[in-house]
Amino acid sequence: MIDPKLLELMQNEIDGKNSPSDSRFLRESLNANSEAESMFQELRALADLLHSVKPVEPSPNLKKFILNDPGVSALMHSKENTPRISGRTQESTLSHIIHHLLEGIMKHKALIGGLVAVLVVIIYASYFYPWPATNDIQGTIGSVKKYRADQITDKDVKLGDNQNATSPSTTGGTDNTTALDNQAHLFQRAPVDMQARWFRQLPVEQQAAYLQRIPAEQRASLVQLMPAEKQAALFQRAPIEEQAAALAQVPVEKQAAMFQQMRVEDRVAAFQKAPIDLQAHLMEKAPLNLSAASLAQASVRQKEAFFKQLPVDALASLYKSAPVDQRAALFQKMPVDRQADVFQKMTVDAQASLFQRMPVDAQAALFQKMPVDRQASIFQKIPVDAQAAMFQRAPLEMQQQLQKQVAAENKAR
């Protein structure tokens, strides 16, 4: 019977969840319990076997089938206001309209009441005083006056912190929100350079409030026209999701600078919401302590992506910045090729110290990726039992080379 605690440690080890001290404890326990050791080896083999199963490629036509599915096409057409829609979509569109109508009625009870009253009067009047025939009214009405919205001008939009009636800061509650909504609505119709001119005159709190009311793309173009310190101030006032989205839309060379202008407590949160490739770019450019903090909070999937995308120097610095007891765990999460690259950047002592903290199989995999001269140096610095394990797992040719190299180094001493 295997102790449940040991079983849990085995499971955690397979899933890379053990701390270095837990891993050490597990190794010691397994050495003393052959039944547990055998079960662990089987579980490890199972995990390796499942890992070796390659993903399957879907048929190249699958995407076409999805996009051409009548359900998808109908939904797309209905959103583009094309009248040909399927029954199912009609049903959802209808329920959508009814929902909006009900919402509107609830919001504008007084207005609806008034409209109903007007309608009753019109029906009453048309019954007793019928509408004249078209011929009877021809020529009595002047030229048609079509509605055309005038081009927006500076006068139309009263922005700024002048304390007039339309300034959001002087109105309260619902009025304030409505004024903001109206102004933002008007604001969107102006060309970007005009918007930027008005925008600059506003206090930062109002700017942040306006930004929340305009579409994301417009928001990003407007923010990009602001000076860097203003961008930082606006950034700090935006919701984290918006920060991450805005960050993803600015040019790569500006991203790291913007990121560093954010409040420290917001950086890690915004970082986690950014796309992986942007995260990797930011990690490369951000100060080391911030990169390390971001890495510590990243999910397994994010870590893997970072390890694949970050340059070796950035990875090596991250490794060095991690607490000593966490380095081996961090290192083991990297792909073996990247491990070998990062390993090359360490001193021989650091390499030997790391080596001793790794499981034997991981040691062997890494060892086999190293140049022969390094292998010999490391080999001499690790304990005898680790040497034996390493030697047994090395291919015959490597064993012979290693023997030669060690002998040569010993001779040189």
Binding site: L46, P58, Q272
Partner: protein, 179 residues
Amino acid sequence: MISAEDLVLIRKCLGGDRRAFEQVVDRYQKPIYNAAYRIVGRREDAEDVTQQVFINAFRNLRSFNEKRNFFSWLYRIAINESLNKLKSTASREIFHETEHGHDETPDDVYHKKELQQAVQNALGQLTSEHRAVVVLRHFQDLSYDEIAEILELPAKTVKSRLYEARQQLKDILILHRQI
């Protein structure tokens, strides 16, 4: 939490942007297809499931809570669709398909075929609950928390199911001399 890129795509989809929907399909069709394939065991069924996942997702996009992770939401639909597909094909013999590349030697193909078949058959012997956790953990490489979010279970339950599933898989594969 949803990624900024997904959020932008979803909002564009809601606005009727067909290209945004195409991008969502490009981004997620492979992992969704793979998860479905490992659960249902047949390419044809996995393609049906994948197609249905995107149609259902698109149809219900308005109900998607932007505070949730989009891929977790998609995976949830995928798992449900796969399990439905399994129920509807319960009488058919499944888990017999294998994959191989063009540049492999006959030995490689044989070995890989045997391995794939053994793994698929072993997966097919698990309950659907156990199969789902194994697929999400080992083939999709998701964390306990991510699996818990997808299956709407406590992480502790995910962990215990994974433990049971691994024990069963291990025993099945040992019996077939694959471990």
